[in-house]
């Protein structure tokens, strides 16, 4: 179980899996509350892109340092659910390699069990964010080859 997840992301997923019912939402809210202010270099970052599949306007940037990626997001405060997802991705994939990211199963988040307390539509933000993160990982891999 979780063999294909980067270690920190695997921990986050099992923390969620161990919570029951509303506790899962409380935990997601903790992540949303820890969502950091936009990094100073973000606005100037020409790599920042929109994640168009999200109902919520989400912007993302990726930085490759010594073969490892870090991500930053801009998500409005009125979308705490999406902020929570972005924070999980930021923390779970901090300084991971493109290969690790590409190995993440597309529906890894179902193991967290949030579908029990959120409608399917509210999970799509996570799917959209992961798809974009993977695309950036694939691009990073091409550059380093």
């Amino acid at each position: 179980m979780n063999v294909n997840l980067p270690p920190r992301l695997a921990e986050i997923v099992s923390d969620f899996a161990e919570c029951e019912g509303r506790e899962k939402l409380e935990l997601l809210l903790d992540y949303a509350r820890r969502f950091p202010p936009l990094p100073a270099e973000f606005n100037a970052d020409s790599d920042a892109e929109d994640v168009p599949e999200c109902m919520t306007p989400v912007r993302m940037s990726a930085k490759l340092t010594n073969g490892r990626l870090t991500f930053a997001f801009d998500v409005p405060a009125e979308s705490p659910t999406v902020r929570g997802y972005a924070m999980i991705i930021m923390e779970g994939l901090n300084e991971t390699t493109p290969e690790e990211i590409l190995a993440i199963p597309a529906e890894f988040y179902l193991q967290m069990g949030l579908q029990d307390v959120l409608t399917a539509q509210r999970l799509n933000g996570m799917a959209a964010i992961l798809a974009h993160v993977k695309r950036r990982a694939a691009e990073a891999l091409e550059k380093t080859d």
Binding site: E78, P80, V82, V117, A120, Q121, L123
Partner: protein, 285 residues
């Protein structure tokens, strides 16, 4: 400026601010984002959630009458409480809750114009404190079937060539998209719209600040597309929440006498074996 047809069903933020401690008023927040209430809400406001509170836990339907009574009791709502609904995304899910309360016969209902975004834009107070109220003995009325359309009603509506309003985005209407952008798991087997429906996206009824447009603007918006008060109207979207917003505009702001919300909406129609579907631009009135 002309007034809305039934202004008693709409209140401004200032009215709400002056009734925060009024025991005859219960403020109810209903959002698209399930965590938003927890980040701060109007002092004294209770929460309902479209998925975890208002929908039936097993079958595709909303709460039964008994479950609705239990919900009202748990929120401290009595039969004579004035319930004020507000929420995110221009009150889209708040009006769904308003529609459900009307279905079960709750009389004193209001929507807060501009919703949550306007309350915050005006720097009004928020709290994370979750209130609790003593339970009530709530008695719901028999369901008001005149505001809800089922698929057979829609079929008859098509045959009688009565107006249908599709309030989804233009690409969902033409069939280019099977679901709303960003909501891939709530799609249908087939894309397009119900034959004869006109496409008037729900958000065209609100201004940038989330408040409803003026009566003149609204009248122009709907009447220019053949959606007129002399006819029976059915509104639909994907799962019936965006269309409850349009239902509210037609019934309460413009005073149309016969408007129904088809809450089965496209996730039912686009999956229904044999149901007629129109693709592309469709009928332009």
């Amino acid at each position: 400026m002309a007034e809305y047809a039934h202004p008693e069903f709409l209140v401004e933020t200032e009215w709400v601010a002056q009734h925060l401690d009024d025991p005859s008023v219960r403020i109810v927040e209903s959002n698209e984002d399930a965590l938003l209430y927890d980040t701060g809400h109007i002092p004294g406001a209770v929460r309902v959630d479209w998925f975890t509170t208002l929908q039936h836990p097993v079958r595709r339907d909303f709460l039964t009458k008994e479950e609705f009574e239990a919900l009202c009791s748990s929120l401290g709502i009595s039969n004579d409480t004035t319930v004020v609904f507000y929420g995110d995304k221009s009150n889209w899910f708040a009006v769904y809750a308003f529609w459900l309360f009307e279905y079960y016969g709750h009389e004193k209902r209001k929507v807060m114009n501009g919703g949550r975004a306007r309350w915050i834009a005006e720097n009004r107070p928020l709290t994370t404190e979750v209130p609790s109220y003593p339970p009530t003995t709530y008695r719901a009325k028999e369901p008001d079937a005149s505001i809800r359309a089922f698929r057979d009603d829609v079929m008859r509506h098509i045959q009688e060539r009565l107006p249908l309003v599709d309030v989804r985005s233009p690409k969902e209407y033409t069939g280019e998209l099977l679901h709303m952008p960003g909501y891939p798991q709530e799609g249908a087997q087939r894309g397009g719209h119900i034959p004869g429906a006109v496409n008037i996206p729900w958000a065209q009824a609100v201004n940038e600040d989330g408040r409803f447009k003026s009566p003149e603007e609204l009248r122009q918006l709907y009447q220019s597309r053949g959606v007129t008060p002399d006819k029976e109207i059915i509104a639909y979207c994907r799962i019936g929440e965006r269309s409850s917003h349009t239902w509210f505009v037609l019934k309460y702001l413009l005073g149309y006498p016969k408007v129904r919300n088809y809450d089965g909406s496209w996730t039912e129609w686009g999956n229904l074996v044999g149901a007629p579907i129109e693709k592309g631009e469709g009928s332009q009135v």
